[in-house]
Amino acid sequence: MDYFFFILSVICVWTILSLATNLVIGYGGLMTLGHVGFLAIGAYTAATLNILWHVNFYYTIPIAIIVTAVVAFASILPLLRLDAFYFGLSTLGLNIVITDVLQNVGPRVPGAEGLFGLDLPALMTSSIWRLAIIAALTALTVYLSWQLVRSPFGRSLRAMRDQPDAIESVGKSAKRYRVTIWTISGGLAGLAGALYCTTLSYIDPTVFSFLFSFNLLVYIGFGGLASILGSILGPTLLIVFGEALRFGGLPSQVSGPVQQSLFALLLIFVMVFRRQGLVGKYDFRE
């Protein structure tokens, strides 16, 4: 049962991250390939505060959100001038730089390579209540994202995505929308990171590798761009599928690569035959 709650928690965390990433790719038109880097920052912020500085875990959550949002804000300013390709490549580079720096000089429990020993508040030590809190925060994120994309802001954002030149002609700055949505997305990724800590017994940078960014891409591509529902369906279905594989009788050494192969095939299939994924309302940009 505990395992079941654990998987649901993981699904929730990835749903938040998928929403965050879909907001920038599907609605903002910014091709990010390294959003897992923000997940890492959120996770490390929360874990460091809690494990090394003994901050109550509840407080680490908003702090992680703010720290990651600030990093996101700072990171996009120099990248705004890049066109889609080079932008994507830069975010990938950023992801790898973040994880590598964390690996070399990141905070760690003395004597170890990473952080462990999360000191959770009493309520959260029970796996069902932990799930309840994570699920509630996920639902909140879904609601917020939904309201955001339905609002005039969301409309202007989509317009900017479609025609950056024309949005300027109606007096709105494309740059402002990009920076805003990227910062909001960063904050959400930070939230996902903080919550992600609670599902890990050991937090170290290898957890946030490029493979993770790749999986995120598959979740979103499969679920569908510019779709709140897609950001929920993608991770849910694929994480469940991944777990089913693990229980399907394959030896553990094999199930990892098999899953990766299937996901890669799925991504290729989606790109060639159905770029809008399951329920997406937008295509990966030209």
């Binding site: 890049l82 830069s90 950023l94 790898i96 591509g221 690569p257 890669a264 790109m271 030209e286």
Partner: protein
């Protein structure tokens, strides 16, 4: 110091092989072909299997390995990229598909080798020492082969009909179609040549220092920085120049700050993209 320089130049040769092919595909077709890493790996593993497991002749295995690379690269283009484009996909979708191919190959390689490094050379590659530096005959062979290949290919690009078509594509894709160049046939030539180069790099690597499933991708990322550094205005000079720079950078970084090599490479990438995306040879 001089030793680091020598190893840097030797590394440059490998990047140069990958860079030329990658830059060729990118400058003519606007395809950011991450699957190039898979082509590298395919040739490497094939060579290992032929040479070490089946015991075939080394030169025969080399030729077959390169052929496999060329065919593999071509198949990816024909069955994935061209189909994707015909179905309305753009450059970014192709890029993501190529990521998928690279990831698929890495996963399959992981599946079959369990991540164990495979090295193809038997016996030891003894270095020759002159004064303060040692180098191996293999390094000399690699560097001179790359130099010869560059020369031959440069001549071919400048003086053959196919080469002309390739250059026309690099200048202007749509116009080339209009003046009657069969872009599909030229595209085939481009992928065949580029993939062969990548395959050769893979074989040399597995022979010399061995490979693991992620080797191709790691090398490719450095190569990408080299290609961006060199710019695509002058294909050969850019690829060569960028490769030499990155070879030296990785050698020196690897010697002085071994854990920071990746960070340095990717920071360079980001800085290049922000400040000089057209490269330094434009």
């Amino acid at each position: 110091m001089l030793q680091v320089l020598i190893s840097g130049l030797s590394l440059s040769a490998y990047y140069a092989l990958l860079a030329l092919g990658f830059a060729m595909i990118y400058s003519t077709l606007r395809i950011f072909n991450i699957a190039h890493a898979a082509v590298f790996g395919a040739a490497a593993y094939s060579f290992y299997i032929l040479y070490r497991i089946f015991g075939f002749n080394i030169w025969g295995s080399l030729v077959v390995g390169v052929a496999i690379a060329a065919i593999f690269g071509l198949l990816v283009d024909i069955f994935i990229y061209r189909v994707l484009a015909a179905r309305g996909g753009g450059t970014f979708s192709i890029f993501i598909a190529s990521l998928g191919v690279a990831s698929l190959f890495e996963a399959m390689a992981l599946l079959f080798t369990h991540g164990t490094p495979l090295v193809a050379h038997t016996g030891s590659l003894l270095p020759i020492t002159i004064g303060a530096v040692s180098f191996r005959p293999l390094d000399i062979l690699v560097i001179s082969s790359v130099a010869i290949l560059y020369g031959v290919l440069f001549y071919a690009i400048m003086h053959t009909r196919t080469g002309l078509e390739i250059r026309a594509l690099a200048d202007n894709h749509t116009m080339a179609g209009v003046v009657g160049i069969d872009t599909n046939r030229t595209r085939t030539a481009i992928f065949a040549i580029a993939s062969s180069l990548a395959g050769l790099a893979g074989i040399l690597t597995v022979y010399d220092s061995g490979i693991v499933p992620t080797t191709g991708l790691n090398l490719l990322f450095v190569t990408i920085v080299a290609v961006i550094f060199g710019g695509t205005r002058y294909l050969f000079m850019g690829a060569l120049g960028g490769s030499i720079v990155m070879g030296l950078v990785t050698a020196f970084a690897g010697f002085f700050f071994p854990q920071w090599v990746t960070v340095i490479v990717f920071l360079l990438l980001i800085l290049l993209l922000i400040w000089r995306p057209q490269g330094f040879f434009a």
